[in-house]
């Protein structure tokens, strides 16, 4: 069977290493177009693992087709910003031009249409990935040409829309200042690991990936964990809707990223580093690999780096396969090990028990760039920028209703209003700060400052103009979380879907004031009871708008009189008569 041959060859390429299953599945998928149940069985057999284990993994990732589909695949980004900029019109035009519909699987079709969540191009929306190639700033008029090019087998990379703009609207001193390849590493080899960590400590660098954990402390814990092997992982999964700053860094400053990883390696005593790149950014892979090669040639990677005896370190790039949760550090590690991206129970934390059970420091792309810059310019230099608790600059990915969307590198401490003036959005109704998992700010909040002490943000800033239906956007955010919930734990798996349905009911004009209370209670439960950051923040769009925009909700619900969705007493009687007994009153239990 062809499948078995392909599978066996690919498994062999990876030395039969079970932990590389994600790579093997990606390779098999690329060759066969999908991963059938027979392929699952073949993979399981070749690796000598139960097939249920292989299915567990491949069924988890959004970009694995399980059934045959068209030779060309268009993933149209259908996130909130993209829909604000006309993605729905593009969708209709695509359906018309191809004669197929979104989501349908038609094996005879030469084009398959799929929706996907944010692909990191919100500053040039609407956008899509066509056979992995990003096409941006799409208009309805572009669609026939695109479809004709696919049907004619022409090279789509030559299409006018097949380009990614990496305009940095404001370059700051830290990330987008000019860099010299290798400067940070050459500095690092002159320092002891402790001195490197102390430099970050002086800089008071905090993680840029969301949680804001002090980087010096993370590296110190990781270094102190007594194990023979340590790992450096760069988190380039950038999945928060509306974020695209890591894309700009990877495209424009890859040497700073790899420099930061090498500095981390020196500090931790790591010999291996992995950059986890979201599948949506596969088009960046070639340039990243060539940067790695250059660094190897220059002695910035490999054995005895910069002539430093015993400082051996190299980096590999791991591609994902479509899962927002894989940005969560422990889920990312599971994914690196070739498993479904389910977060781990903590403790133990990755700095003690990470990749392959070894101490691992997972850091955001931007954080690692800061670390590289700090080594060159000094911790004190860095600490002088920004505010007391938020030193340095922050990259913001600005999109939505503004005249100048794009990447901005700004000093911490800037107010929301100052930002809005800069990006051309003074009339904003609301600002989604930190993406869906952050908070939705009203005008009353616009004097607050972007900083860890006031408004922390991973960098996603989505602006809603005065005309937007804000609650519909919140519903879409909530649907995103329901879609991306890994399903491991009950409150998130079920609760996110219930939240979305409840809000939908209200938007449909069928809600009452008691639904608003129910919505809030449910939101708090999902937040408190969920296992990881995804579930713990999934209710934020709803909870923060309930707090900041109560009038929008009040306008959409009816008064409670006479419109109860169901009668509790009657339901109780009915249940009792069916069960033949009275329900527990709670009094009989202690």
């Amino acid at each position: 069977m062809v499948e078995t041959d392909v599978v066996n060859r690919i498994v062999q390429q990876f030395g039969g290493d079970r932990t590389r299953l994600l790579d093997m599945a990606r390779a098999v998928h690329a060759e066969l177009g999908h991963i059938s149940e027979e392929t699952v069985a073949a993979l399981a057999k070749a690796l000598d693992v139960p097939r249920v284990e292989v299915r567990d993994m491949v069924s988890f990732y959004a970009f694995f087709f399980r059934e045959p589909h068209g030779t060309n695949v268009i993933y149209l980004c259908h996130a909130v910003v993209e829909r604000m900029q006309g993605a729905d019109d593009i969708a209709r035009a695509l359906e018309e031009a191809t004669g197929t519909t979104f989501g349908a699987s038609d094996p005879d079709a030469d084009i398959t249409l799929r929706y996907t969540s944010c692909i990191g191009l919100s500053d040039q929306a609407p956008s899509a990935l066509v056979n992995g190639v990003p096409v941006t700033n799409l208009t309805v008029d572009d669609v026939p040409e695109l479809v004709a090019a696919l049907r004619g087998g022409r090279d789509i990379t030559r299409l006018r829309q097949a380009q990614v703009g990496n305009d940095v609207r404001t370059a700051g001193q830290v990330i987008f200042a000019p860099t010299e390849r290798g400067a940070a590493v050459r500095k690092a080899v002159t320092m002891t690991p402790d001195a490197i960590i102390e430099e970050l400590n002086v800089a008071r660098l905090r993680g840029r990936g969301g949680a804001g954990f002090p980087t010096a402390m993370k590296w110190k814990f990781c270094r102190q964990a007594k194990e023979d092997v340590h790992y450096v992982v760069c988190n380039a999964d950038e999945g928060e809707p509306g974020t695209f700053k890591d894309r700009a860094i990877l495209a424009l400053q890859p040497n700073l990223v790899f420099g930061g990883m090498t500095v981390a390696a020196r500090a931790l005593g790591a010999r291996k580093g992995i950059l986890y790149l979201r599948a949506e950014y596969e088009y960046l892979l070639r340039d990243l690999e060539s940067e790695l090669d250059k660094r190897r040639h220059l002695g910035l990677l490999g054995d005895n780096i910069c002539g430093c005896e015993g400082f051996d370190f190299d980096i590999r790039i791991q591609l994902g396969a479509g899962a927002y949760i894989c940005g969560e550090e422990s889920a990312l590690i599971e994914s690196l090990e070739g498993k479904r991206g389910a977060p781990r129970a903590r403790p133990p934390f990755p700095v003690e028990h990470g990749y392959l059970g070894k101490p691992t420091s997972v850091n955001n792309v931007e954080t690692l760039c800061c670390a590289a810059r700090i080594l060159v310019e000094g911790g004190a230099w860095f600490a002088d920028i920004g505010t007391k608790d938020s030193t340095g600059t922050k990259l913001l990915s600005v999109s939505g209703d503004c005249t100048k969307p794009g990447v901005y590198e700004l000093e911490y401490g800037l107010t929301v209003l100052q930002l809005l003036e800069r990006v051309g959005a003074e009339n904003a109704q609301a600002v989604q700060m930190g993406g869906p998992s952050g908070q939705c700010l009203a005008r009353k909040d616009f004097a607050r400052s972007i900083s860890f002490e006031d408004l922390p943000t991973g960098g996603s800033v989505i602006i809603f103009g005065p005309e937007r239906d804000l609650l519909e956007a919140m519903r879409q955010f909530t649907a995103f979380f329901a879609e991306e919930s890994c399903g491991w734990c009950a409150p998130c798996r079920v609760g996110t879907t219930l939240l979305e349905k409840c809000l939908q009911k209200i938007l449909d004009g069928k809600g009452t004031f008691s639904d608003l209370e129910a919505l809030e209670t449910l939101g708090e439960t999902v937040k408190t009871m969920s296992r990881c950051g995804l579930g713990q923040t999934a209710a934020n769009p709803i909870l923060t708008t309930l707090r900041n925009f109560p009038i929008l909700y009040a306008d959409r619900v009816r008064s409670d009189d006479g419109v109860m969705a169901f009668d509790l007493e009657r339901a109780k009687e009915e249940c009792c008569s069916v069960a033949g007994r009275a329900p527990a009153t709670g009094e009989e239990t202690p």
């Binding site: 129970a345 399903g487 009950a490 409150p491 129910a518 439960t525 408190t528």
Partner: protein, 242 residues
């Protein structure tokens, strides 16, 4: 799957915890849930099963550790932890999670042969659930009656993973696993389709581990009459509190 299910290491040293104001001893590294149980304190739980590594799936065992919510079945005890367990706030949220599980699946307690032995149902009673306040999702879930002795009715599955852990850890097999994600997640079996293609046996620990009427041994229905079943007389958790 190793790292997901590691039982926390126990150093064996005795430490003290404060749970709802009561001081209890614990072995360092032992989970909070088990330390509480040793002291006769019940922390409501569903995906936990004695003798299996914890799963952390249901979150019903959520307690507050020094003010932060976390699952008692996975969190290791250490000196001086201050815990909240039996509070109105937590019990309300636990009940809501139980309700979520009820509406996620298709549970027909009155006609289910596990009624009275079912931990989900018993938790509903104990936590004061009357009827789920959320809308039923009415999802399509596959019933697998292919095996001669064991039946898998996914309508009643709460995705606790106990079957999978028991099969792996106790039976030395891998009959069960998960499939899909989010609300579409399902329990899967180690065959192209159907339990009949697996090496499951009715006597497997995996079957006994199921807390609901999802995994059942065939031809056993109603051998124990209603009224004489596990939770008919005493609420779930009584054994722990005894």
């Amino acid at each position: 799957m190793s790292a997901q299910n590691d039982t926390p290491e126990t150093s064996g040293e005795t430490v003290k915890l404060l749970i709802d104001g009561v001081e209890i001893p614990a072995r360092e590294g032992q989970t909070i849930l088990e330390a509480a149980a040793d002291a006769g304190i019940y922390v409501p739980r569903l995906c936990y099963r004695e003798g299996l590594p914890p799963g952390g799936h249901c979150r019903i065992c959520t307690v507050k550790v020094n003010g932060r919510p976390t699952s008692a079945c996975t969190f290791p005890a250490s000196e001086g932890l201050v815990l909240e367990n039996n509070t109105d706030e937590l019990n309300t949220m636990r009940r809501q999670v139980v309700e979520m599980l009820f509406v996620e699946g298709n549970h027909v307690c009155p006609s289910c042969e596990a009624s009275g032995d079912c931990e989900l149902q018993a938790l509903g009673y104990r936590l004061g659930m009357i009827a789920p306040q959320y809308p039923y999702q009415n999802t399509t879930r596959e019933l697998d009656a292919s095996h001669p002795d064991v039946m898998l009715d996914r309508n009643r599955c709460v995705l606790c993973g106990r079957c999978a852990r028991a099969s792996r850890e106790l039976d030395g097999k891998s009959v069960f696993g998960f499939e899909g994600r989010g609300i579409g997640k399902r329990i899967a079996v180690n065959a192209s389709h159907g339990l009949a293609g697996t090496d499951i046996d009715a006597a497997d620990e995996a079957v006994a581990a199921c807390p609901t009427g999802c995994l059942l041994v065939k031809r056993q229905a109603n051998l124990i009459p209603v009224g004489k079943r596990t939770y008919d007389k005493t609420p779930i958790g009584t054994d722990v509190e005894a």
